[in-house]
């Protein structure tokens, strides 16, 4: 089968590949390609359109859209056009992004004691690299589609692929995570907690339960909230987008005291999957029988709307993906 994406090293001759040859992408296992991708260290070729592009956004460290600097500029000189300000901010974002890939960021994200050498050892373990191979291959393909459409500024489609990832991992991740605990009696408890409860709960509900009860009790996620900044050239658009999101979501998903009218929404980490699902359900349908679906006019421009959401959705999904890869493959 012809692969839709090919992976290319931006610099084949980096010193690091002399030291650890298997870190170079060459029929590498998909979980490694995913790690390279979500940390913004990959060049891809979309073979159908024969387009080569670089994914250099570190999804685990989403940049703030600089609202503050907008205001600063406006205060200093009111004559600058809002479009120009946004353009300048975009330019600044481009200038801030790194020019060279940096693989060292991967072990740093895994743990403070993990090194590139450890990563290289995992990659030479034949048993490990075949673990859940088919699953990771499909997952990687969805991520690649997300990178590609983000690169093309097709943010609506890019969001769709993030949603597909969420659906795809919603059953697998909880199971992989639970089954890699060190003690079976404990993994039984956590699995049981996932699948009991309401009858007929769908996979996405299982996933939410997983986030809420298993991921968020450890480390810092319990207290984490993820913020969506709403920045557009016109105050009226900001207001429309803000109102739309508030209107379709249950207000318990927000960290309400942190919301800023028409400019910022703060969503609890444990509710972020609900947020993604709600947005998807309300936007990708327009049945007459449901009255709170999103009208296209509500969100001004769908690619623009999703460009505001995607980096944070990608952050959430990458974070969970990293934790699961870490737990199920590296913690041996």
């Amino acid at each position: 089968m012809l692969d839709l994406f090919e992976f290319i090293e931006t610099n084949e001759n980096e010193d690091i590949f002399v030291q650890f040859p298997n870190l170079k992408m060459n029929n590498s296992p998909a979980f490694y390609i995913i790690l390279r991708g979500i940390t913004g260290n990959i060049m891809l070729k979309q073979t159908f359109r024969d387009e080569t592009f670089v994914q250099d956004q570190d999804l685990l460290n989403p940049k703030h859209k600089s609202i503050v600097s907008n205001n600063e500029i406006e205060k200093e000189d009111m004559t600058i056009e809002p479009e120009l300000i946004l353009g300048l901010c975009d330019l600044l974002d481009v200038l801030k992004t790194k020019c060279k890939s940096d693989l060292n960021v991967i072990p740093r994200y895994i743990s403070d004691t993990f090194t590139l050498q450890d990563l290289s050892e995992v990659l030479s373990n034949h048993k490990l690299i075949h673990k859940n191979k088919v699953f990771f291959d499909s997952l990687n393909n969805e991520f690649c589609n997300h990178y590609y459409h983000s690169y093309k500024s097709n943010h609506t489609v890019a969001f769709l692929h993030l949603y597909r990832i969420l659906e795809y991992v919603s059953y697998a991740f909880p199971v992989m995570y639970a089954s890699s605990t060190g003690d079976f009696s404990k993994s039984f408890e956590s699995l049981k907690s996932l699948f009991t409860g309401e009858k007929d709960q769908g996979e996405l509900k299982v996933f939410k339960y997983f986030i809420k009860n298993i991921m968020s009790v450890e480390r810092d996620f319990e207290r984490l909230s993820i913020e969506i900044d709403i920045v557009s050239p016109l105050e009226e658009y900001n207001e429309r987008i803000y109102k739309t999101i508030i209107g379709i979501c249950d207000k318990t998903i927000f960290n309400e005291s942190e919301n800023k009218l028409n400019s910022k929404l703060s969503i609890k980490f444990s509710e972020f999957s609900t947020f993604i699902i709600t947005v998807r359900n309300r936007f990708f349908h327009l049945k007459n029988s449901v009255d709170n679906n999103i009208q296209s006019i509500d969100i001004v421009d769908s690619d623009y709307f999703f460009s505001l959401l995607n980096s944070k959705c990608a952050y959430f999904i990458s974070l969970i993906t990293l934790e699961v890869i870490k737990k199920s493959l590296f913690q041996v």
Binding site: N61, R108, T113, F114, R219, F330
Partner: protein, 340 residues
């Protein structure tokens, strides 16, 4: 400065009062304290403060500033005590709130129309110890831009504590690169220990969470942690390390930052037991910890995290664990880490 009243704050175990002076005294005696914490905040130069500067020149009365002191010796029970304490110790004060306003005042004072006799009010806080003062700073500044809790802790570790009497040496990264002292502790590591002490938590770093969010998480932990229930101060931990620093094994153990972080959280619960240990006794306990930890053989991923967690648990329960054998301790460590 005239002081008008006095009251006791049960949370920070300190004496508080309200005072009044004029711009002239403020600029001469209180403004210099800003430089002491010059890094405390990047001075913001916004429209807001330009407006304030113009208002000062037109004779506005500023909202009260907050000045703090650390004192556990002098008895301050009356307004007169408080007034003379402030007068005598003004050069040891810390500005808890109002640095931006003071800088603005300074700028305004350079203009010709400035009135040095204009009144200004102060909140005065005299805290029993440095930890309580830092606690008040973090809770007071929370929500304001400019200074993060980690930054605050790092700066105050340097500003508040006098490490010069100690045998152990503490250097900043910068000092280390210019003139390294053998076996010195890094100030950054001490601050990480202090953060752990303050939050009662050994995990305050997470590369996957943006700094701003991580700071919120840390503030949340500090607010949830009841500092007033502590039986010890942070400086007691430093003194403990110093006391045993003659032993190379112990010194090296503490210089592994994850051990130190774990110790900072565990010590509060077992300071009485630990203070009875001789250096030899402590050394053999730490050796036992190391042997049991080695047997655990944690994965590369968990090395740092387990070390912090288990050092905390071990120190916290030292009274119990001192009777354990290496094997028993290892079994306990194994139990504690299998949920992972």
């Amino acid at each position: 400065m005239n002081v008008f009243n006095i009251a006791y704050d049960e949370v920070i175990s300190g004496t508080c009062g309200l005072g009044q002076t004029n711009y002239g005294y403020t600029l001469e005696n209180i403004f210099p304290l800003v430089n002491k914490l010059e890094e405390q905040r990047k001075l913001l130069d916004t429209k807001f403060y330009k407006r304030l500067e113009r208002d000062i020149l037109s004779g506005c009365l500023m909202p009260p500033l907050t000045i703090a002191f650390v004192n556990n010796e002098a008895k301050i029970t009356s307004v007169e005590d408080l007034q003379s304490y402030v007068a005598e110790n003004i050069q040891h004060g810390f500005i808890l709130d109002g640095i931006q306003r003071l800088s603005t005042l300074k700028r305004a004072s350079e203009k010709p129309d400035f009135n040095f006799d204009k009144e200004i009010f102060f909140n005065i806080i005299i805290a029993q110890n440095k930890d309580r003062l830092l606690y008040r700073m973090i809770t007071l500044n929370n929500g304001q831009k400019g200074m993060t809790p980690r930054h605050q802790i790092e700066i105050l570790t340097r500003e508040l504590f006098d490490f010069s009497d100690l045998t152990i040496k503490i250097q900043t990264e910068k000092e280390k690169s210019v003139d390294p002292i053998k076996n010195s502790f890094s100030l950054g590591d001490i601050a990480r220990g202090y953060t752990a002490f303050f939050t009662n938590n050994v995990n305050n770093e997470n590369s996957k969470i943006i700094d701003e969010k991580m700071d919120e998480i840390i503030v949340g932990r500090i607010l949830d942690n009841d500092l007033t229930a502590y039986e010890i101060e942070f400086i007691d931990i430093i003194k403990f390390v110093d006391k045993h620093s003659g032993d190379d094994y112990i010194l090296t153990w503490f210089q592994t930052v994850n051990n130190f972080i774990g110790f900072c959280v565990g010590y509060n619960n077992s300071h009485e037991t630990l203070n009875n240990f001789s250096s030899n006794g402590l050394k053999s306990e730490l050796e036992k910890f190391e042997s049991a930890f080695k047997l655990l053989n944690p994965s590369k991923i968990n090395l740092g995290k387990f070390r912090r967690e288990l050092a905390k648990t071990f120190i916290k329960g030292i009274a119990k664990y001192s009777s354990y054998t290496i094997e028993e301790l290892n079994e306990e460590f194994f139990e504690l880490t299998t949920t992972e």
